[in-house]
Amino acid sequence: MTDYTKMWQSLGLDLKSHDALLAGLGKAYTDIFLSQKNRPEGMKYFDFVMSEVHGLRIKEIVDAKEQGRVIIGSYCVFVPEELVLAVDGVAVGLCAGAEFNFEGAETLLPRNTCSLIKSAFGFKLGKVCPYLESCDVVVGENTCDGKKKAYEIMGPLVKDLYIMDLPQTKSEMGKALLKEEYRKFIAKLEKVSGKKVTFASLKKAVDLVNAKRMAVKRLAAIRAADPAPISGLDSLLVNQVFFHDDPVRFTDAVNKLCDELEARVKNHNGVFPKGTTRVIVSGCPMAVPNWKLPMLIETSNAVIVGEESCVGERGSRWLTEVKGNTVEELLDAITDRYFNIDCAVFTPNPSRVEYVKEMTKKLHAQGVIHFSLQFCQPYIMESGPVEKDLEKSGIPTLRLETDYGMEDAGQLKTRIEAFGERLKKK
C-alpha cells in the first residue's frame, strides 16, 4: 500500500487520530460489507474506492489543485455539482457520517444537535477529513435551522465558507430565489477559479452529471427484481461514493455494475433468497460511513430495495433537461431540476410521501422503514404524517429514530425483526 503520510501531513491532518479513524473504518467495512455473500463482482471497484478513500482519491484532488482546479466542498444535494464542473472545479461531498470527536463538537454545539452536524464539526475540529482540508471553498446551505446556525459557528473554522440561501416553499418566489442563489454561486465560482462559465462548459457539465445520475437511476430500477441482485448496503455504498468519486470514472463503474446485475436478474441470481422481505428506507440521508440501520435491517431477514433519501433517489431521481443555447437557459433548467427536490425543510412537502408510495409499488416493497436522525426536526416532524398517509394507503410503516451510536442496536433490531414478522404475516 502506498504511504500517504506526507500528503496527510501537508493537509494538516492530525495523524494519530486519523490513523485511528481509518483503522475503525477499515474494520467496520470488513465486518459489514466484505462479510456479505455472493456480492456482485462490480462491487470490487467500490471496495477499492473505499480502501483508498483517504488515499488515492485525495491524491487526485491534491493533484487537481496543483493544476489550478478549485476544490469545492458541500454538505447537501441542493449545491449543484454542474456549476462546479462548469469552471473545471472538483466537487466533493464532505464527511459527516461517523461518530467521531463528538465531545469536541459539543464544545461548540448543543448536545441535542443531530449526528450529521456533530460529525461535520467532529471531523473539522479533530482534523481528520482530508476532503474538508483540501477544499478552497466550503458551501454551507440554509436547509434546516440546525445547519443554518451551525454554519455561523463553522465560519471561522474554515478557509472560505460560502453560504447559499435556499427557499422553504415551492412557490414562484421560492424558485426565483433559488435561481438567483445559483447565479450568485456561479459568480463566486468564477471568482475563485478565474474561469468563466460558458454555455459550452455548462452544457458539458450538465451532460456529465446527467450521465452520472442516469447510471444510479439505472441501478435503482434494477433493484425491482426478486431475488434482489444487490444488497441495500452495497447500493447505499454506491450512492455514498457518488459524492466524492471522479464523476466520469464513477459513472462507468456503476454502468458496468448494472450490466452485471442485469445478467444476474436474467439468471435469477440474487444476494438474498427469492421471497425475502423487501423494504424501502425513507428519511434522513446516510452519509458515509453511516451503515448502521441498513446493516441491522439486512441482518434481520430483510433486504432494502430502495432509499428515499438525499443519498439515494431524492438526490438523484431528476435529470436536468437541456434546452436553449444560452447560459441563462441552462441556469433555468438547472433551477427547475433542483427545485424538485422534496426535502423536509419545504412546507408543505406532499410530493415526498407520494414518491415513497410510487417507489414501494415500483420496487415491489412490502413496507417502509422511516429513518430519522435524532434531533433532526424536519424529518422527525414529517415522519408522523408520512407514517399515517402510508398506513392509510395500505403500506406498513415503521418509524425509527436513532443516531450514529451503537448502544440502541438491540432495541432497533427487536423493532426491525417485529416489523419483518408483521410484513410476513400479510
Binding site: 429514530e401 448502544e407 432495541q411 427487536t414 423493532r415 425483526e417 417485529a418 414478522e421 408483521r422 404475516k425
Partner: protein
C-alpha cells in the same frame, strides 16, 4: 409433541412448554450476570421436542443451540391469544422496555411502538423507586393504593426521578403519596403510548409490571377501557414462543 418457548428478558428468563394446546410447564428465574448459563439450567429442568427463543437475549441462545427466534412483539401477540381472543390491544411493561401493540381482526400484529432506548417508566424504574422508598415491590403497590392523594413526579428518567423522590421525602412528603405519584407517572406514560398505537378495545396487560395492582387499576381508569391481566403475566412471551414453535411443525 412438546413445544417450548424461552423468553430471555433483561430481569427474568421464562420457560414455557406446551403439549396438545395445554400449558404443561412454566417457570421463571432471575436473569443474573450469566443469561446463557441461567437459560441452560432452566432448560435442563424439563424435556421438550422443539424450542423457539424470544426476548432481548434471543440471539444469544443461538450460540448454545440452533433454534428459531421471534421478536418479543410477535411472541406477545401469539401469547396473548392463548389467554384471550377478545383483546385488541396489548401493553407489556417489562424490565427494560414498554411495548404497545394493536391487533387486527384476525388477532395478527398490526402496529406496535416501544419506548425509547432508556428504561424510563419500565419495571426497572419501579424497582429502583421502591428501593428508594424502602418498600418491597408488593408493599410498594399496596402503599400507593392506600394513598389519598398523589405527590406529582415530573421526571421519567430513573436517575432524575430518584433524586426527585429523595428530595420530596426529605421535605416531609408522605411515603405512600410519593408511591402513588410514581405509579401515576408510569401509567400516564404507558397510556400515551397505548392511545397512539392501540386506541380501541380491551387491553391485554402483560409483563412483570402487570403484577402490580395499582398500575392495573390506574391504567383502567386512565384508559376507560377494560384491562385483562392473565394469570401469570410474565410468562406470556414464553408461551407465545412455544406456540410459534408448534406452528412450525
Amino acid at each position: 409433541m412438546r413445544c417450548a418457548g424461552i423468553d430471555i428478558g433483561s430481569r427474568t428468563i421464562k420457560l414455557a412448554v406446551i403439549e396438545n394446546g395445554e400449558l404443561i410447564f412454566s417457570r421463571k428465574i432471575i436473569t443474573s450476570h450469566d443469561p446463557l448459563g441461567t437459560a441452560r439450567d432452566l432448560m435442563a429442568e424439563t424435556v421438550f421436542d422443539r424450542i423457539t427463543a424470544t426476548g432481548y437475549g434471543r440471539h444469544l441462545i443461538k450460540s448454545h443451540l440452533s433454534c428459531p427466534v421471534i421478536s418479543e412483539i410477535t411472541a406477545f401477540v401469539l401469547g396473548s391469544r392463548f389467554f384471550s381472543d377478545s383483546c385488541e390491544s396489548i401493553l407489556d411493561i417489562g424490565g427494560q422496555d414498554t411495548k404497545a401493540i394493536s391487533l387486527d381482526k384476525n388477532g395478527s400484529l398490526c402496529k406496535f411502538e416501544m419506548n425509547d432506548r432508556c428504561a424510563a417508566g419500565t419495571g426497572r424504574f419501579l424497582e429502583v423507586m421502591a428501593t428508594v422508598l424502602g418498600f418491597t415491590l408488593e408493599e410498594f403497590s399496596a402503599a400507593a393504593l392506600s394513598a389519598k392523594k398523589a405527590e406529582k413526579i415530573n421526571s421519567m428518567c430513573t436517575v432524575f426521578a430518584e433524586s426527585e423522590v429523595v428530595s420530596l421525602v426529605s421535605q416531609g412528603a408522605l411515603r405512600n403519596e410519593v408511591a402513588l405519584g410514581i405509579h401515576k407517572s408510569i401509567v400516564s406514560r404507558s397510556a400515551g403510548l397505548l392511545k397512539r398505537v392501540a386506541p380501541t378495545g380491551k387491553i391485554f396487560f402483560a409483563g412483570g409490571v402487570a403484577l402490580n395492582d395499582c398500575v392495573r387499576i390506574l391504567l383502567e381508569n386512565e384508559m376507560g377501557r377494560p384491562v385483562f391481566v392473565p394469570p401469570d403475566p410474565q410468562i406470556v412471551g414464553a408461551i407465545g414462543a412455544a406456540l410459534s414453535a408448534s406452528e412450525n411443525v
